[in-house]
């Protein structure tokens, strides 16, 4: 019987580049920036890294395919480098690969590094690209905001919520993330905004306005992982260990079978349930200290609060408006600004979330440091579209928690 990943692997070091419009940097520059910080944090030489997982999602816009770009950028000594891509969950996938490698005993120290260089397209938003030879012939002409916007009409219908109430809760989410981002020197967007500005912004995809959408960014983040024993042998104390690594992938039920109502994520519900079990968390609303979720759009964050079983079904609007997820609330959500403001370099995003948990748990988060000592931190990625997606849930925490 599998026992799960809980406490089998510890984070030895992490790094994260400044996110943003890095007009004058190549992906390689961003990778080195994150890696240099992580190596220093881990206190090891590059040659101690035995294997690497490299995540990029839209590689045709920057480094191209394979693990070679990472090996070349860092001049890794001919070690295994595996490139992973799983839409916006790519960064969490790289982390999963490195953690599993260490847990299996195949290597002592492994690297997960994600990067994305998105600001070379000539326009804002995600690059427009082919979705596959046959998909292009029948999938709707959808963008990311347009596909996630579908949640709004379905959620409103299911829970009898007015458009105005939903819009206001969505606005609260974005205002909160901007407040948090303003305290994060590595964040892409560091300006606070108010609710009026959100509600009066130009429409992107009904009902999502400009400030309901995260930007796309250039950036890189990475983690170096090892076993708790090795970490301790290197003099590390107060370890942050991996508690759960879960992934759930749509099999077509949502988009092809009439059992899904469009108002929630089947994948998130599946992955979060398994993650809590793996981490030994009985009551997430009470036990989880911090969450970083895939707030690609404000409405995604809203419904995710329910899919993570923290807000009751239909209760997310109330929790959001009550400040439950604000930086000074019960469970801060996106205390670093989230995708919304820290930014969203796709391949790096999952690792960036874990980076924030790691800083918060070590009391190193600067101005945005949470005063209560965080015990369990949950990170969540969604890749694809609500009707067809990949969802990762990672839980990290204090060793022994």
């Amino acid at each position: 019987m599998a026992t799960g990943i809980r406490d089998k692997v510890a984070i030895l070091g992490m790094g994260c580049s400044k996110f943003g419009e890095r007009w004058n940097d190549n992906a390689e520059d961003l990778m080195l920036e994150a890696f240099t910080e992580a190596l220093g944090d881990a206190g090891i030489e590059k040659n101690r890294v035995e294997a690497a997982w490299f995540s990029t999602a839209i590689e045709e816009q920057h480094v191209g395919k394979s693990g070679i770009p990472l090996a070349m950028a860092l001049r890794l000594p001919y070690i295994p480098v595996t490139r992973v891509e799983n839409y916006c969950a790519s960064g969490s996938e790289a982390f999963r690969g490195a953690v599993y490698a260490v847990a299996s005993g195949a290597c002592d120290i492994a690297l997960a590094l994600g990067v994305e260089k998105l600001k070379d397209t000539g326009y804002g938003g995600l690059p427009q690209r082919s979705r596959g030879a046959l998909n292009d012939q029948y999938w709707s002409n959808m963008s990311a905001p347009g596909s996630f916007a579908q949640l709004a009409s379905a959620y409103q219908t299911k829970h009898g919520v007015s458009r105005d109430d939903l819009k206001r809760a969505m606005a609260h989410i974005s205002v909160k993330s901007h407040d948090n981002g303003a305290k994060n020197p590595k964040a892409h967007l560091q300006k606070a905004i108010d609710e009026d500005r959100v509600l009066n912004a130009p429409m992107i995809a009904e009902p999502l306005g400009l400030f309901d959408c995260c930007g796309v960014s250039d950036g890189s983040a990475c983690a170096i992982v090892t076993t708790p024993e090795i970490a301790k042998s290197m003099g590390k104390t107060d370890l942050i260990t991996v508690k759960a690594l879960q992934l759930s992938v749509s099999n077509g039920t949502e988009v092809q079978h009439n059992s899904w109502d469009g108002s929630y994520f089947m994948t998130t519900r599946t992955a979060s349930k398994k993650a809590y079990e793996e981490a030994g968390i009985k009551n997430p609303r009470e036990d989880v200290s911090l969450i970083e979720v895939h707030d690609c759009f404000s409405v995604t964050e809203l419904v995710t609060m329910e899919d993570l079983y923290i807000s009751p079904e239909g209760g997310a609007i109330k929790d959001v408006m009550d400040g439950f997820y604000d930086a000074d609330g019960k469970i801060p959500c996106q205390i670093d600004g989230g995708l919304k403001c820290f930014g969203h370099p796709i391949g790096a995003s999952g690792l960036r979330m874990i980076y924030e948990m790691y800083l918060q748990m070590q009391g190193r988060a600067g101005e945005r440091q949470r005063s209560d000592e965080p015990k369990f931190g949950l990170t969540h990625n969604l890749g694809g579209f609500p009707h067809q997606n990949v969802c990762s849930v990672v839980i990290v925490g204090q060793e022994g928690a």
Partner: protein, 499 residues
Amino acid sequence: MSVGIHAFGGYVPKARLQRGVIAEANAWFNPGLRGLGKGERATANWDEDAVTMAVEAARDALGGTGGGTGKDGINGVFLASTSLPFQDRQNAGIVAEALHLGHALQTMDVAGSQRAGTSALLNALQAAGGGGPILVAGAERRRTKAASPLELTTGDGAAALVVGDGDGIAKLLGHASESIDFVDHYRGQDETFDYVWEERWVRDEGFMKIVPVAITRALDAAGISADAVDHFCFPTPARRVAGMLAKKLGMPDDSVRDNLQGTLGEAGAAHPLIMLASALEDAKAGEIIVVAGFGQGCDALVFEVTEAIGSAQPGHGISGYLARRREETNYMRYLAINDLMVVEQGLRSEVDKQTGMTTLYRNKEMILGLIGGQCRDCGTLQFPKSNVCVNPNCGAIDSQDDHPFADMAAKMNSYTADALTYSPDPPAYYGMVQFEEGGRGMMDFTDVDPGAKLQVGQPMRMMFRVKDFDTKRGFRRYFWKATPDGAPKSAPKSPRGGE
């Protein structure tokens, strides 16, 4: 052995550009256009062409897609148009695939003249004796220069007729053709627009001299005297011409059918068939219909309406589709979606739209016919058809039979109006569309009125449309889209050869 029309249908695109708007926009250039600035013209959406409009007209006639092949099925599809999207790829073949008529049938494009519509009909009737039923469709998406009189007088639309053995609803009594190289206008190879000669000459030497010869011979062949004609369908926007012809030939004044100039515009090679389909909606048993097509000569056909007319009404008909309308007052939108001005499309429009012919061919039933699957084990309907049943409680392998979705009742579960993604007519509307009997898809919507308030749960229906244009290679992709199902409906008839 007699032949006749057994079913008929029509299609008119939803947008009706107000002619006053065209005239006012261009009056600075040609004040004379104001004289034509009355009424409205049907204007194809950006995702419509002669093929898609023919498909809709055919569905209207057949009561849906399907029809099988063999004795009672459709044995041929003839498509008449001078605005066919492909010069070399049979357009009628796309129509037949979209209609899911099977492959054991004859398909043919008829083009090259405004007379193509009546010529296709006449040839289908001649071939139908023993070789029918044949579906004849005429469809036209007119291309005209801005500020031209044609921009004001033309319109877009389609009609479809099923012809075959027996009297049907309108028995062919006689016909005649005159073929003469009278060039009232022309459009050379690779030219976009018509080149038009003086209308007074066209009237006096063309309409008034060539048409009477053909009609007289057709009436003689039919054994019908001109004064017995009840419906005279003559497709010209030229004022009073049809009346002058009726007078000259001795047909009653009130036999002259509305040329639909006020509501639709003159739809080229499709127009005689559109007028015929419109006449059939009104015609009573025993009445005589004369339809003529003009273009380098004239075809004339004489029909007698039979008792069967009462039980054979189309799904919507020309009148139903004329009632499904949206007033378009934005001339700039019309110019933009008709490629009459250079619009900044943005970098997002630059994605390569190359279509793999291999991919399309092996998935043609799915893409062109909207054919999905039904699981033999659990009955679940699903789109696309797949190897493993999508029902979470089934999962049977290789258990699915073909199932057509195009005519199934559907409703909308979620939607957006997307201003970010590239669309020739933003915002792009799309959302989850669910078929009531099972199956669903995240589909593009079409013909959503600007600023429309959509409602979750509202009924939707499928329409065959252009999905993408590959402007680099001159190809276009077709697929089905969902449209709010607000069209007025008469009771669906059971089509000959229908499902």
